[in-house]
Symmetry: C2
Subunit: 409 residues, 2 copies
Amino acid sequence: MAAELFDYAELLRPDLPPAAARWTAFPKYNFVGGHNDADSVPVEGLIAAAATVLKREGSSLSTYGLQSGPLGYRPLREFVARKLANDAGIACSPDEILITSGSLQGLDLVNQVLLSPGDTVIVEQMTYGGAITRLKRLGVNIVGVAVDHDGLSSSRLKTALDDLKRRGIRPKYIYTIPTVQNPTATVMSEARRAEILGLSVDYGVPIFEDECYADLVWEGARPRALRGMVSDERVIHIGSFSKSIAPALRLGYLVAGWPLMSRILGIKSDGGSGALEQMILAEYCRDHFESHVRTLRKTLRRKLDVMIEALRTQFGAAAEFDDPAGGIFLWVKLPENVDTTRLMQLALQSGVAINPGAEWMTDAAAGQTRLRLCFAHPPEQVIREGIARLAEVCHREFAVPARSAREHR
Amino acid sequence: MAAELFDYAELLRPDLPPAAARWTAFPKYNFVGGHNDADSVPVEGLIAAAATVLKREGSSLSTYGLQSGPLGYRPLREFVARKLANDAGIACSPDEILITSGSLQGLDLVNQVLLSPGDTVIVEQMTYGGAITRLKRLGVNIVGVAVDHDGLSSSRLKTALDDLKRRGIRPKYIYTIPTVQNPTATVMSEARRAEILGLSVDYGVPIFEDECYADLVWEGARPRALRGMVSDERVIHIGSFSKSIAPALRLGYLVAGWPLMSRILGIKSDGGSGALEQMILAEYCRDHFESHVRTLRKTLRRKLDVMIEALRTQFGAAAEFDDPAGGIFLWVKLPENVDTTRLMQLALQSGVAINPGAEWMTDAAAGQTRLRLCFAHPPEQVIREGIARLAEVCHREFAVPARSAREHR
């Protein structure tokens, strides 16, 4: 009887997403997810920072919020404020910065204060798969707007806004990843940014700017953030330490003025983000962030070169891609007969994980021949082997590349 | 125009809770919240643990989930499994344990997989205010059942279940804090636990067991957890390190079998809890948890004695309370003419923060003369001064205690 009674099936919310599958281990050739270069984790620096900051103020762990309130550990907010001023041209006080558990929590909080089922949002046609999944779960209408080599297309954005306006629909926000776009890895020019900011005012639609990869532009310098180009509240800005320090840390930030921030805090009931993480990161970053990221960028650029070389060797002209301006991924187009969702399934059986384009586009069908390859985590030799395996699988199933991987050499 | 356009008022979800107030600082006499004893934070132990674990495996921070998957850092889950077996009689594998960002996230996840607006849940009539707030936000019907000196009343629970059954309502769960009940600080006997487990089967209603204070029973030993007394899935169990190590850490855990766990993982999209916290805590706890908690309990018991003495000195017979079996709070009853919600407002002006009973009871009016006083955080002298101030304020407004605080001496 007990077994029958405590079958939870009847008690579950009716609108849940599918159950998770059991986790086993990462595949050997892991080209998905935001994992980073293992040797670049600043282990010694974090150990030293932990000792210093805990010796100085470890007893404050006894209080929720570390005497800093619900926005997060104040020295970390002060660091983020300085960093945003120097790198992104954003003038904001630590009181306009909320420390979040990864930029994912920033995404969730903004969605939770703005979106009800049936609402409409505008996103880039090619965009972060996790953002699409979240929006679908919330039951909102997703309008995808084309991107080009300069990021979100302002002319297409205007067309979409006009069309919605004609239909009496005011979208809740325009979600964009302007600096190292995910997945295309472009960096939007300031001229384009200005056009998009203008449209935001003209149509009364705020911009939701996700800059979680912005520290990883190869050249270092980057255009001002959209939030940095205006003095009003039209841009909500989020960022992350996942890509610049380590993804397992779960620390990001959200920038917004008090009218919106006070509503976000009103629904943020998690008791704050992890204090050890915040304290150790603040202590480490104060003196070491810039030099760490400078070195990390070189490492990532080198790994990207390895991946590009491996793709050219293995796929030849069959794999098309632009040279990324920064980041940790490459967005690849294969010939028309390839279905990357099928390729993903087959490749996984050979230990190779890829993101099929369908998951990274608002129009899944349009992503059929695309795939996203993350190059930050696997060692260089593993990148080479993994791409060779991928080519073998792809050749076997789709005759792409036309010659087998071996013959390419 | 911009100011008008980027007034977010029109864009917000219509059903949001009120905006947060700006945080300033903790009041001097802070008798609210789960803050703990500052001198008891094991600072040196955490520094040593950080150095050891990061030296050994710091580079794994480069991957989401630290190669342990979405349930959390495996060595921490292994520690929790051993601890639950030894202390609470729960036999579970690390694969039935999910590391959460505080037990608050556990509460939220369970609510999210089970509750839709209009659903019914049973809770203890006096219970954790944060649980009540969350349930109200979710739009569920809250049925409060009386507690006595042995915790949740099984006869009253049966009456409530009968009544609901007659009305065709199957509640989604029975939420209980059996070990150091919040706010009454009682520990439920195993006999009572068995009765409640029986009702759970009889009526087909799972139990949601919150044991976040269970490490702080003065005697050390505690009855088996409800989850430890059955072999089926009728009990969902959550716990926390907030009270035993430090609240700022944001680490808790949830125990459930795979059928439910897989649904919980299906909605948990936060990329995991903070890795530094999990690694450092696992490393620290393996060798030091037990001795740390043993010492902490003595410290807390001493602080409780200081508070009881201060209440007797300042309030005399006007303050009624039972001696807590453990924990960090005292549940006090004042004479009938006192309104503790009003007292809370007035006391705050004198730097004294208290939880009025109305916030800790399902029937707010029934809590009018009650208050919860947390004694773990303020130093002993601050406890004495704060209770003296509270008595002054209460005397001035309600003539309770009848004589002023000074005359009591």
